[in-house]
């Protein structure tokens, strides 16, 4: 075995190990099935709530910096929710707000070293997407009754096409939670795998002596750029999730 081959084989980059779940708090965590994933959910929720409560504590007419930030967060989601769903959907605004900030905080917390990205687990994103799906179906039935099922036959389409159109519409409707969850999950996993792979390159190159030390700078530079990209992807995916939720709920309430 040549030198490189032994290095590559000896220290393979474990790009997926970061997604493994480990119980926290020892045997208590094991018994309660409490891994680092719910721990970071808890941290994210506490951070968001602390941001809102501490920010809004002055409740002044002329806001300070933190209060202005909290108000901007509120206005951003409020405009998104009401702008998409209309006033009929105002009841769903807290839900959309919770979704957006839960996902955003998860995405951003995951970028910190030694942390865990709970949005990189398909189980979590699927649970969120199914929650959206179920709520939109319940809201549809609540607001439209059985007229909700008329949407599976597009208005104005020729009747003889219905054997083709109705299954397609049902399929596209049922694929919503799948696409919603996989989009977020795949983005987070891809980003973190890339970060880990390039970080691994740095360590491997550093083991190659002088030239390796020089070349090892390149993956670090790439990782810095990737971190910036991940900051964009994190907020973008949270926004996409929130706005798709708003669109699904708009179809439920505004027809």
């Amino acid at each position: 075995m040549t030198g490189e081959a032994s290095v590559a084989a000896g220290s393979t980059i474990d790009a997926l190990g970061q997604f493994e779940l480990h119980p926290v708090l020892g045997s208590l965590g094991e018994a309660l099935r409490f891994s680092q994933s719910p721990l970071f959910m808890l941290i994210a929720v506490v951070l968001v709530l602390a941001f809102l409560f501490i920010g809004m504590r002055p409740a002044s007419v002329v806001p300070g910096r933190l209060q202005a930030a909290a108000e901007i967060g509120y206005d951003f989601i409020h405009d998104l929710a009401i702008g998409t769903m209309g006033e009929e959907g105002a009841a769903f605004f807290p839900f959309v707000f919770a979704l957006f900030f839960f996902i955003l905080a998860g995405n951003y917390l995951g970028l910190l070293p030694f942390s865990f990205t709970y949005t990189s687990h398909i189980a979590v994103t699927l649970a969120l997407a199914v929650t959206v799906f179920v709520i939109s179906i319940l809201a549809s039935l609540r607001f439209q009754g059985l007229g909700f099922f008329k949407h599976f036959m597009p208005a104005g389409a020729p009747v003889w096409l219905s054997p083709l159109l109705v299954p397609i519409e049902i399929l596209s409707f049922l694929s919503r939670p799948v696409s919603l969850s996989i989009r977020l999950f795949a983005n987070m996993v891809a980003g973190h795998v890339l970060l880990e792979v390039f970080a691994g390159f740095t360590i491997m190159l550093a083991g190659l002596g002088f030239f390796g030390h020089i070349l090892a700078v390149a993956p670090i530079a790439i990782n810095i750029a990737l971190t910036a990209l991940e900051l964009l992807v994190g907020v973008l995916q949270a926004y996409v999730f929130a706005i798709l939720t708003c669109i699904y709920l708009r179809e439920a309430v505004a027809h």
């Binding site: 490189e4 994933s37 409740a59």
Partner: protein, 186 residues
């Protein structure tokens, strides 16, 4: 050890990523892991708690602050608008009052000027009348004195003529002298 590291750069991901990933599988898909289901259950609880705190406390609090601000700004605007309307009215009132006062003052000035002119005219007329009367009076008196003077002239002339005649000729013929004087003065 002396080969170029570039070859290694290409070899590394091929060797590293798929090997381990395929062999171990993604931890996210390991459905037998009790922690995987556990995180969903815990996540549901945490998310539900997050939602409840947001919808019951955090978001209404922000909404209250924002709506307070909106109403306060609206109220301030209303107050400002009312104050502006009031000041506009006051200034219009002031302007009209000033106009009125100016008009009144002009009227007063005119009236007083008229009065002064009238009184001056009457005064002048009265003075002229009085002077005319005085002039007429004086003329009458002059005429009377002249008449008197003229009426006493024959007697004086007769007396003077008789004196002269008596001194010249030593005789007195009053009748002749008087008729001569009368003839001359006539």
């Amino acid at each position: 050890m002396h080969r170029t590291p570039r070859l290694f750069l290409f070899a590394a991901p091929l060797a590293a990523v798929p090997g381990r990933a395929v062999a171990a599988g993604m931890p996210q898909l390991n459905v037998h892991d009790p922690l995987l289901i556990g995180q969903v259950a815990w996540g549901a609880v945490i998310f539900a708690g997050f939602y409840v705190v947001l919808s019951r406390s955090a978001l209404p609090r922000i909404e209250r602050v924002l709506s307070n601000r909106r109403t306060r700004i609206q109220n301030d605007l209303d107050i400002a608008r009312r104050a502006k309307a009031e000041s506009d009215r006051a200034s219009a009132e002031l302007l009209s009052t000033r106009h009125e006062a100016a008009a009144q003052a002009r009227a007063n000035v005119e009236r007083i000027q008229n009065e002064a002119r009238l009184s001056a005219e009457t005064h002048a007329r009265e003075t002229a009348k009085r002077l005319e009367a005085e002039v007429a009076n004086a003329e009458a008196r002059i005429a009377q004195s002249r008449e008197q003077a003229l009426s006493s002239l024959p007697a004086i002339a007769t007396g003077t003529a008789q004196n002269l005649v008596s001194r010249l000729i030593g005789e007195q013929d009053e009748q002749t002298v008087a008729s001569a004087v009368k003839r001359v003065s006539a």
